[in-house]
């Protein structure tokens, strides 16, 4: 990789702009990511201009609405409210979920005790349970946090458990043969070796957490981004409504990308070179 970028530097000054762009396109993933977004937004813009529905704004109108909402502070206030149950719920789910999953992966008895609960919870249509939460916990932060946990926890637990079960047994034997104790075995071998699947579960959990918080804000009481969506829909401000929806999708995507970055750079450094 480093050799390739070096000779790219040598070639680039002599080449024309077109050739440089082609070189860049061949070597950089970001070029394709930008291209993919460009295609999506162009299609959106065209669909909005047709228009496919009077309630479907163009991409540029949506973008303008987004900046307007950032400007008047309503978007920032909404995110502040939405992020509270989300961050709280995801943090609890991540810590509790990974801990429970690891315990279940290490002990057959804990697996038999806990796995059925989480398998049922994962299979259950959680949206149907969200209204029940309001009966017990009302409409405040606790109820919304619980909605996030209900969606995020099962997938994190089950993935963490699978991750630990699929750890290379030869590495565990290696640790034992060099007299590693149980704690070293868990922290130096099992968790790092399980981390790719652990992180896959965490990414699914975070995505589920976003679903949970949106369900809570749409089904329990309209607050935060959920309130923006509900309000702008009710007054037929469709560009603003779409801006709120797109903003939460973007937030979710960026969070997942950040998680991926953390995994490859902090947990598994060898994946940067391949």
């Amino acid at each position: 990789m480093s050799v390739m970028s070096q000779d790219a530097k040598v070639v680039a000054p002599a080449a024309t702009t077109g050739q440089a762009l082609r070189l860049f396109a061949e070597r950089r993933r970001s070029f394709w990511v930008v291209l993919s977004l460009l295609v999506l937004f162009t299609a959106w813009e065209i669909a909005g201009r047709v228009p496919i529905s009077f309630a479907f704004p163009t991409f540029l109108d949506t973008l303008a609405a987004f900046f307007e909402m950032v400007g008047d502070g309503s978007m920032i206030r909404a995110f502040f409210l939405t992020l509270q149950p989300l961050v709280l719920g995801v943090a609890v789910s991540a810590l509790l979920g990974i801990a429970l999953g690891i315990v279940m992966g290490l002990s057959d008895r804990m697996e038999w005790l806990l796995a059925p609960v989480f398998i049922v919870l994962q299979a259950a249509p959680m949206a149907a349970l969200v209204p029940l939460v309001t009966f017990v916990y009302g409409i405040g932060l606790v109820a919304k946090t619980l909605a996030v946990i209900m969606l995020a926890l099962p997938v994190i637990v089950l993935n963490s458990y699978k991750a630990v079960r699929h750890v290379n047994p030869s590495l565990v034997d290696m640790c034992r043969s060099f007299q590693g104790n149980r704690r070293q075995q868990i922290f130096k071998i099992i968790i790092p070796d399980a981390s790719p699947v652990l992180f896959a579960g965490l990414r699914l959990g975070v995505a589920a957490g976003f679903i949970g918080v949106m369900l809570a804000e749409l089904l329990i009481t309209p607050t935060g981004i959920g309130d923006l969506i509900t309000y702008h829909r009710s007054v037929a401000n469709y560009a603003h409504m779409y801006a709120a929806v797109a903003a939460i999708i973007a937030a979710s995507t960026l969070t997942l990308a950040a998680l991926q970055w953390f995994e490859t750079n902090v947990m598994r450094p060898e994946k940067r070179r391949s």
């Binding site: 290379n168 030869s170 590495l171 043969s177 060099f178 007299q179 790092p192 070796d193 450094p269 060898e270």
Partner: protein
């Protein structure tokens, strides 16, 4: 180059002389459920020698090695190392794995020093020791590489350096070269002999390759399958000061290979 081997009917493992046993295997049996993997194995491993456990697949040679390592519990019998009965892994034994068992997320340096890391040695000290053994197995310059950047042969060198680094008396090698291609295998066998000479340790080596066993071993223990039993013990007594290529052409070497093949051939399907 003489060959001492007893014919099968008059063979008695207890009669094989071992002056200074570092590892004693005493009536070890192993059952997996109803399957009998090993039946009352009695063996002694001489200090400073390389002993090979050789046999067809299913003879329980890897199981026996893992029992000696303390990684697999025996159903009955005991393992005595340096005069003390052992029940689990210990600092006087180090294991080299068939599949290398390297941590893919750790560099060569950290992998080699991992045994010392588990013992709680400070980073500077364990890196100093690790570097020495990395050099000894011929991997200098690769300290900061990750295992996936190395060839199979180089990965196993890392596994061997890791086992050397903890300075155990006994090295247990489980088919260490089976995942290495033929050209590198020969080079590896020569390097192993050099390391045996240099390190003055006891080696217990598992292989299914007759040529490899005869080429590297001071003593070969032949195991027969289903259940695994000791069927013969052979001391190849090969003059290892000779050139490796001459050894492989030597009639004495070829005779031992042939003799072992004759005693194992009826197990081949």
């Amino acid at each position: 180059m003489s060959v001492q081997a007893l014919s099968k009917d008059e063979f008695d493992p207890a009669s094989v002389v071992t002056s200074d046993p570092v590892v004693r295997v005493e009536t070890i049996s192993k059952h997996y459920g109803t399957v009998e993997a090993l039946r009352s194995i009695d063996l002694q491993f001489e200090r400073g020698k390389l002993t090979t456990l050789l046999g067809p697949s299913g003879c329980g040679k890897t199981t026996l090695l893992k029992i000696i390592a303390g990684l697999v519990p025996a159903t009955s019998g005991q393992i005595v190392v340096n005069g003390r009965a052992v029940t689990g892994p210990g600092p006087e034994r180090a294991f080299v794995f068939q599949d290398f068992a390297l941590m893919p997320w750790a560099t060569v340096l950290r992998n080699v020093g991992f045994g010392l890391e588990l013992k709680g040695l400070a980073a500077a000290e364990r890196n100093r020791i690790a570097r020495r053994y990395i050099e000894e197995v011929g991997l200098q310059g690769f300290e900061d590489k990750y295992p996936h950047e190395l060839s199979g042969g180089m990965r196993q060198r890392v596994g061997i350096a890791r086992a050397f680094a903890v300075n155990a008396d006994v090295l247990l090698l489980d088919e260490p070269f089976s995942a290495v291609d033929e050209q590198n295998r020969r080079k590896f066998q020569e390097d192993l002999l050099r390391l045996v000479e240099m390190e003055r340790k006891t080696f217990i080596f598992v292989t299914h390759s007759i040529e490899e066993a005869v080429y590297v071993s001071d003593r070969i223990v032949l195991l027969s399958p289903r259940p695994g039993r000791v069927s013969n013990i052979i001391d190849p007594r090969i003059d290892r000061t000779a050139d490796p290529d001459d050894i492989r052409r030597d009639p004495g070497y070829l005779d031992v290979v042939e003799e072992i093949w004759q005693s194992l051939r009826h197990y081949a399907e």
